[in-house]
Amino acid sequence: MNYTSNSNSNTESFAISNNDSTIVVIGSGAGGASVAHELVVRGFPVLLLEAGQPIPVDSFVQDDVAAFRQLSWPEPRIATGNWRAATVAPESPSWTVQAVGGATLHWNGLAFRMQEHEFRPRSVYGNVEGASLIDWPIALADLAPFYDRAEDKLGVTGTHGIEPHDANNNYKVLWNGARAVGYRNMSNTRLAINNMPRDDRAGCIHLGFCNQGCKSGAKWTSATSEIPKALATGRLDLRTGAMAVRIEHDGRGKANAVIYRDAAGKMQRQKARLVCVAANAIETARLLLMSDSAMFPRGLANGSDQVGRNYTRHLAGAAFATFPMPVNMHRGITTSGVVYDEARHDPSRGFAGGYLIEACGLAPFTVSSLLDPSDWGAPNAAFMEQYDHMAGVLINGEDMPRADNRITLDAERKDSLGLPVPRVHVDEHPTADAMRAHWTKQTDALFRAVGATDVRHAVPALAAHNMGTARMSARPEDGVVDRFGRAHEVPNLFISDGSVFPSSSSENPTLTIVALALRQADYIASALKRGEL
């Protein structure tokens, strides 16, 4: 990957001057890069601000600890509340990326559509006490055509005639265990990892390091797809090392400039006619909160006081099991297949929504760091010694939104740029324990059904999927943006990342983020052509 190699299409010299007709997109991950790409291919120049720098594919490191250091967002976030992150990782409760491509560099490539009922959680789940559920202002049918396009763009296996990968060792264990306990819906499709070369991306060679940055380039990332494609149009001005710190507005309450700190550390004021924010749900909320003014005293577009609230991650779990025969789960795709049977709404289980059971072959260090810290000494050592006889799963479960689970700005603590550090508060909904107990029982049975001799369960501390902090709502008082991600109060401000999710669903969020971004870009392009915005 080389951001200057497109110079024959003039990308190197393309620069947007500081004029008030500029479309500014903040963040180059799944959402921001998709919006930017869609707009430039329709002829609209875009200025894309990215806080991080490009990380060339060949410099990814096949080592969990080194890769964590290479990719991670480098500034502190303070975790509070009763979630595990507050005690285990009080200054880094979420693993997000600061680099061109954002979290698409470390995502697993699991590209699921949300289910029809998950767009209507308030209607389907009812009044869940202690939760702030609302229905999405869109239905699956509204998003379906964009899911279809997103699957094509990402090259999702099992769609558009794209063949699945051969089942790897870890998925073989999951599939057989699932079948043995009566599950019926297992699949190793829906991966945005090329099986064969497609769309200028290589085919997977089963490196075993998907989360550390895919060194072969087989996994879809916005850094290797949308951004080089957008640069090739000659209409994208990508500014890296550019950290947006404030969005300004004019006297009528329309966004008109973005203040950012450039790579040299100098503050810049870029005029804008339209701003899309896609900085990942913690940073997106933080940016809006930092953009307070006399007209918006609680933060930009925050008359509803919903900015930062209803923060959801996913309820996450992990289970590792050892067997008499070898597994070698480290060989190949990290999350290589899924059981869907528990991703339904069945209140008899004691919780709303459901969860996915995802085959997950992690390296020894990460396995050991997930195991219960109170397990140490001989029993734990014996378990780790059986690493090559071990299979693993991750759980991705729906997290109930709560009004007070929220991002706020710390009143005193500043980061290295002098900006207020975000506080991430989560008091888990009381039913979280019921969901965890359920999947613990189910995964235990699943592994033992195929001969596991030992099963260990773990609660991963770091949130990977950040959602909900600028949610879309039919009524302005319930959320921050409308069904196109357009701020209820600021007509030329759009949110283009997972912040807009009113609920987490049980599916990994990336495909939905991309589908929403494609839908939003269509809407913006039409409005621009009509002379609106």
């Binding site: 073989k172 190949g332 297949g337 020894p364 000494g377």
Partner: protein, 165 residues
């Protein structure tokens, strides 16, 4: 294709002060060498052997893991480590590492869950299970890029269960 290495590792050094629990590097620098005394190093080595007792591992791997931890413990982290070791020795009426195994483990049980114990445990995870020379003993094969991945090297060779349909 030549690559523009715009990514600057030094910027990531910021992480050292931010993710102490996650990656086991504590303190914000400022300390001198960070090296502990010889006795303290031997105590950390024994702590790792008792926390992560693997008969298949050579003694040198534990010793180098202990040195790794000592080198990375700077400033306040070094003080906390030394204080924890002192407290362990005090509660053992002398040198904890000189106690018989059952008494060493009993002393560890008493401090399990303390910040000192948790930090040392996590540093131990990084230093041991993050070291391919250690995990190779458990069948882990590590980086695969140079070998062309696990395609053709066993990514789907499990044969004691039927293939998924």
């Amino acid at each position: 294709m030549t690559n523009q290495h715009l990514w600057q590792p030094s910027r990531r050094a910021l992480l050292a002060g931010i993710l102490p629990v996650m990656i086991g590097i504590s303190g914000c620098g400022g300390g001198a060498s960070g090296a502990l005394g010889k006795d303290a190093l031997l105590t950390v080595t024994q702590l790792l052997r008792d926390m992560f007792p693997h008969r298949s591992l050579a003694a040198a791997l534990y010793a180098s893991a202990a040195e790794n931890i000592a080198t990375n413990a700077r400033g306040s982290a070094r003080t906390a480590l030394q204080d924890g070791l002192d407290a362990l020795n005090d509660s053992s009426s002398g040198a904890w590492r000189a106690l018989p195994a059952d008494q060493r483990l009993a002393a560890l049980q008493k401090i399990a869950g303390t910040p000192f114990f948790n930090q040392l445990r996590f540093s131990g995870l990084v230093a041991l299970y993050g070291n391919l020379n250690v995990t190779r003993n458990f069948g882990y094969q590590g980086p695969s890029w140079e070998e062309g991945g696990y395609l053709g090297r066993g990514f789907n060779d499990l044969n004691w269960l039927p293939d998924p349909k």
